[in-house]
Symmetry: none
Subunit: 177 residues, 4 copies
């Protein structure tokens, strides 16, 4: 589809090439999309929609820690398994290509994740800091790990992934004052 966009960058991907790749005429695309930017936004929305589902999938029974680590791994594995999605979010899904309005609109896909985090804070499984800091940091550690792998700086074998999960958990787990 639009791996073109990921590989070449939005501005280096003319509509004519998009059309050719899709085996349709340029005009056809404009039947279904208002303009080029809308296509990008559509892709962004599609990927965003995945998130909420993917992150909370198959969380194990048991301790909050186990659940959190499973969720973190879900995120890590999703990005590792969908490098195009990862690169798209990293390089394309940023202003000014994706406006903050669009970004806000996709936050709703995260409500379940947010609720999960919030419950962790309330149950004293997670640090008593602002929810958004917890979320951002959790997202950040996962992205850090994926980056190392996608840039081939680290192979991210089983042990290294485990290190990363540990780091993630230690960064957010409850800490008594």
């Amino acid at each position: 589809m639009l791996e073109l966009v990921v590989e070449q960058g939005v501005h280096a991907t003319p509509m004519s090439q998009v059309a050719k790749e899709a085996n349709v005429a340029v005009g056809t695309i404009y039947h279904y999309f208002e303009n080029k930017n809308q296509i990008i936004e559509e892709i962004y929305s599609m990927i965003s929609k995945d998130f909420g589902v993917v992150l909370m999938a198959n969380l194990p029974e048991g301790s909050y820690k186990k659940k959190y680590q499973a969720m973190w791994l879900n995120l890590y594995n999703y990005f590792v398994g969908n490098p195009l999605a990862f690169k798209f979010m990293e390089f394309v899904g940023v202003p000014p290509i994706i406006t903050s309005e669009i970004r806000k609109r996709s936050i709703k896909n995260f409500t379940n994740v947010r609720d999960f985090m919030l419950s962790g804070i309330l149950s004293k499984d997670l640090r008593d800091v602002d929810l958004r800091l917890i979320m951002q940091v959790s997202f950040g550690t996962a992205v850090s790990a994926v980056r190392l792998k996608s840039k081939n700086e680290l192979p991210m074998d089983e042990k290294q992934v485990q290190d990363a999960v540990d780091i993630a958990w230690d960064s957010v787990k409850y800490k008594p004052v």
Copy 2:
């Protein structure tokens, strides 16, 4: 200078506008830069050069923990104090605008930071995990905090900054097996 680029994106900033903003003629710019991309790369290099110096500036005497936290705060404060630099690195300093070759070339500015981290691992002040994971995560937590502030999601008052520093340190500090 080129806050234009930060505000509008590289591709949305024509040379004509850059020239007008700088109060020179378009041609003049081409006396000093080969082409548009070189300007971007030059800015990238300039900001990169700052990093190594800024991060290691005024580290306090005392424990490794104190030093690490000071370094982390240096990074955080630099980005908060230079929002243009932050946005530039986040949104412009990515492929395909900045090639990986250019990125590699600027790694040398980080050798002192790398050495500092390495010494922490060896002295058992930092986790015994891959150096690059430590660095990426440290960078990541700082970026997470800056993002929250720059997007006005959190005010990042003194307490919140302290929370972030704690999180950062807990994520990388030594952990006996």
Copy 3:
């Protein structure tokens, strides 16, 4: 079509003017031609293609001399009747505008002319000198005559054209040692 090019020179004829003259938009031209140079090359090829046909058209029965003179007149008349083609070949169809590769590619249009000349040498109707010298000189005398006319230095009435034909023939006709 591109009499503009002939009248003003290639470099003095911007694409915008070409487009306006053709009553189309600039972009339209770029649907059909890769770039400006390709247009020039296309014109060059078109004119070249004419040559082989025009020169050998309607050669009379009879002596070789008669045939040669008819051929020479074909060339002369073609250029006189197509002053744009003449000027194009004289002023535009030269390096570095037309690369030697393009020129070589169009030589094939002359094979019939070349064969005609060669047969004249073998039948001892033409001088026993290198074929290419014969061809170049024949072309040269015709061009000389056309130049005199196109620059209005001579009216080239019937008598003067006959003089030129005679000169051409005498320059290449067989000469016993």
Copy 4:
């Protein structure tokens, strides 16, 4: 000096390069020349001036034929010995780069050649055709020969040069009605 112009074409040779080649600043050039075109015209004039002198140099005593052939060889050898001058006259010294006014102005350098030709007609050594046709054809045969050599189509050894001289002479020599 401006072999640059010959090698690259006028329009592909920026003044900055001309200046660098001459080891002066661009501004300096504009002290001595009005503009770029004037430089070209100056070169054209210089080469033109040579002509009248070169062509009539060292003509042997004896028959008109001998003199003519010597003159023709002078022209041929000049161009072969000065390929830059040849290429300049062929590719640069044409409209619209060199205006017809400039060309006319340089005709005066040929008056001695013209007189020589005219005397040949009057003495019945040359054909009784228009003087300008004689001159143009003489020039044309020489150029044809030089072209074959400069394009490496023919080596133009002694025999081939002799052939070319013979052709030239036969094309213009007197022919009784």
